[in-house]
Symmetry: C2
Subunit: 207 residues, 2 copies
């Protein structure tokens, strides 16, 4: 945080921005819309050892690696964060993030609430954004609309969401992703990134 | 900074935003454009004891008061900040700012660099924005374009600007007001205000 700043050319450090929040708040949809609108950020592609589903593109939807390669990435501390999700590994490659930051790009990634807390430990100057909904009813409705889960799975997700909502104070910003107002959500996130780039005390990302 | 935050309704505290920077960076023009574009902020009207010039509207351009009334405001500590400019008093009424904040509006005001430093002491949670230009040449050109000053007065202003640029680290944000890019400047300031309203740790303004 100590780099002296030139008042005429305050070149901003690239940011590491984490979009997080409970299941159902709309993390993927929000990031998808940001990509669609062409924001000049590097959107992290998650690395996984599961097999590609029909239509999924390596390097775009996921970076697909073998389980052995994933193990190597873990062992060599080459992942910022990783988790086992339904028996399959998912993680974020340090090399990918480092490369984007070095090219001067702001890096945007999505993580669950636990993952965001992990990032805070590893990279204290990451910008952590907590995505929420306008009400628990809205959250329930969105989870229900997925129609991919049993009532029991849904109840579990809602119970988790309640616990995760309590961790809001570990985050820098909270953005309400209102039903039907996706572009407002995206604009608010863009405003946060724009504002952070103007901070006199720049964040320093070391990976 | 301790109010617990509701993840579904994170009602933001209204902000006190100070636009500052050396003479010639474009503080007035920037604020004028923000008003023109209809941003929903309360723009502080400066109180002065000088006489209105032809065309100036009381309550819009300035709040005009007698010298006796101005003295009373100083004595009763009813001004956030005041200064003597060319033998005339200028200041910002606490009552005006308090009233706007109480109505929930974000308050935006312009101050010189010394005034901004005073505000930081009085209201630590104020948002201080340092307006700059893209180069010292641009600053010189703008001061010259005013054509209201002698070469000597201009040299004094430039010397002051150099000193004031050194105080950048007393501010929260730096925004470059590029020549011919006024709307970009205004959008960046609006982004800062939008982002600050989403902070989990809300600023607390006590006057």
């Amino acid at each position: 945080m100590s780099r002296p700043i030139d008042p005429y050319h305050p070149t901003p450090n690239p940011l590491l921005v984490v979009i997080s929040g409970p299941s159902g708040v709309g993390k993927d949809v929000t990031l998808g819309r940001m990509k669609e609108l062409g924001y000049p950020f590097h959107f992290v592609v998650t690395t996984t050892d599961r097999a590609p589903r029909p239509g999924e593109v390596d390097g775009a939807d996921y970076i697909f690696v073998s389980s052995a390669e994933f193990e190597r990435l873990i062992e060599q501390d080459e992942l910022i964060e990783h988790a086992v999700v339904y028996g399959q590994h998912k993680g974020v490659s340090k090399a990918q993030v480092r490369q984007a930051l070095e090219s001067g790009q702001d890096v945007v990634m999505r993580l669950d609430v636990q993952g965001a807390a992990t990032i805070r430990q590893l990279v204290p100057d990451a910008v952590l954004i907590f995505l929420s909904t306008e009400s628990e009813e809205a959250l329930t409705a969105r989870l229900r609309a997925r129609r991919t889960e049993s009532e029991e799975a849904l109840r579990t997700r809602l119970a988790n969401a309640r616990e995760e909502m309590k961790r809001l104070d570990e985050f820098d910003y909270v953005v309400i992703n209102r039903t039907g107002q996706l572009d407002e959500t995206v604009e608010t996130i863009a405003a946060i990134i724009r504002a952070e780039s103007c901070r006199v005390r720049q964040r320093e990302i070391n990976l």
